[in-house]
Symmetry: C2
Subunit: 229 residues, 2 copies
DNA sequence: ACAAAAGTGTTCACCTTACACCCATGA
DNA sequence: TCATGGGTGTAAGGTGAACACTTTTGT
């Protein structure tokens, strides 16, 4: 008795940060009759190829469809409910991606590719394809949880960033205000930021820029550092 | 262009607790020539059926092969490396299961079914089938991490248990000693144990037995309880 | 009465939290 | 010189770690 075979896809939930808001892109599906969810919102993703790894498939799709360079990619969860695709049984391995996002990206995608970048607090209330709403919800949960105990937030910011910028990012993700002084103290206590000596002018006092010390982090991680915001 | 189809399996890493030790069962594969890993150790698992959910497939396999009633089941990770099965491309969705284990189980399985229950600190050093060693390693990591922030340990104990028994379980999982007084204080602070009035005699003073208050936990969970050992 | 195991209480150090002040720039 | 935003310090409260004593049983 040979085992059954299944359609296997990868789908990615992508998060980008811009001007105080976390965005995620969704495709507006075409209106073709063949589509089980015409005009509905769906994730970036597609069928796995016979000889590529799951992660390679994700990166390929994100590169092909959205011209995105992914900073961080991790497996989220596998969705395999027999009824998730009305046409045929399919398994979707969902991934969770973080990118550095620019304003142009948010706007251009909108017109050219039927892609719309939604603030995660203003996602569509209905018209989701498949179980993609649930996948996005799972990803947002993961983002909120993980950002508090692993330094993944840096992947959403420019290589150089200030402490207040970092704080704004955390506030956007966690959806609550943080105390400036305590936040800075905490971040500095990990000793994972390298001052880049650069100073950038804004309105008030210029802020010190830093870059994240990846090597140092990996070193400390082995010794059991606990990063916790 | 039709999407490719893949063999999809579920594999479960099962944990049971008995007399101060965490055990996990492994199959010793037959010596048939068809087997790519003759005589190697592998997990409980097998191909997914066309119309069953991933979780149902796990429960079915555990019931069929090990006659086990699972107390707790959660998805662990999906392994899909193109080279993980030398015969053909396959995707394995790994699950993580907790059961209530008895001494007879550990011994009987050994003789009858080519199943051997290994203490997780004394797993085979070699002769693992597929990527199952990595899957087990991932599961052990998950167990250690999760037990500290979610009350899953109770699924490994009898319905009625004492605080010292619970502590021994935690010490076995975390592989370090815990202070009796602080542990009891912590556990009681959650207010999730119902004394069953039963008293059990051992050597010294008899200990109070409790059962875990699942309903209360679900209630508190919604209000954002944080269980942390 | 003594050993063994269970149950409870107290102290101290540290970390988190709340909060106030000073500094450097643009307008 | 005033408003705006960035940077640092400090005191109070709560939590976790270390630790000692009492209780109840079997031998």
């Amino acid at each position: 008795m040979n085992p059954s075979k299944f359609i296997v896809s990868v789908d990615s939930v992508i998060f980008g940060y811009c001007a105080g808001t976390i965005y995620t892109p969704l495709y507006n599906r075409g209106r073709s009759k063949a589509d089980p969810f015409p005009g509905h919102w769906s994730l970036a993703g597609g069928p796995l190829r016979p000889n590529e790894s799951l992660e390679d498939a994700c990166r390929r799709k994100l590169e092909e469809d959205l011209k995105l360079k992914v900073e961080y990619l991790e497996q989220l969860y596998t969705f395999g409910d027999p009824k998730r695709d009305p046409r045929n049984r399919s398994i979707s391995i969902a991934y969770f991606a973080l990118i550095k996002l620019s304003e142009e990206k948010i706007e251009n995608d909108d017109t050219q590719m039927k892609v719309h970048w939604f603030p995660i607090s203003q996602l569509p209330k209905s018209d989701w394809a498949f179980d993609h709403r649930q996948i996005v919800a799972t990803a947002i949960e993961r983002l909120k949880a993980k950002v508090t105990y692993e330094p993944i937030g840096f992947n959403l910011l420019d290589t150089e960033f200030s402490i207040p910028q970092l704080q704004n990012l955390y506030e956007a993700i966690l959806e609550r205000d943080l105390d400036r002084r305590n936040f800075a103290k905490k971040i500095h206590s990990f000793d994972l930021l390298i001052p880049t000596r650069t100073i950038r002018a804004g309105r008030g006092r210029p802020s010190q820029l830093y870059k994240f010390d990846t090597k140092q982090y990996k070193r400390l991680q082995k010794e059991g550092l606990l990063f916790e915001v």
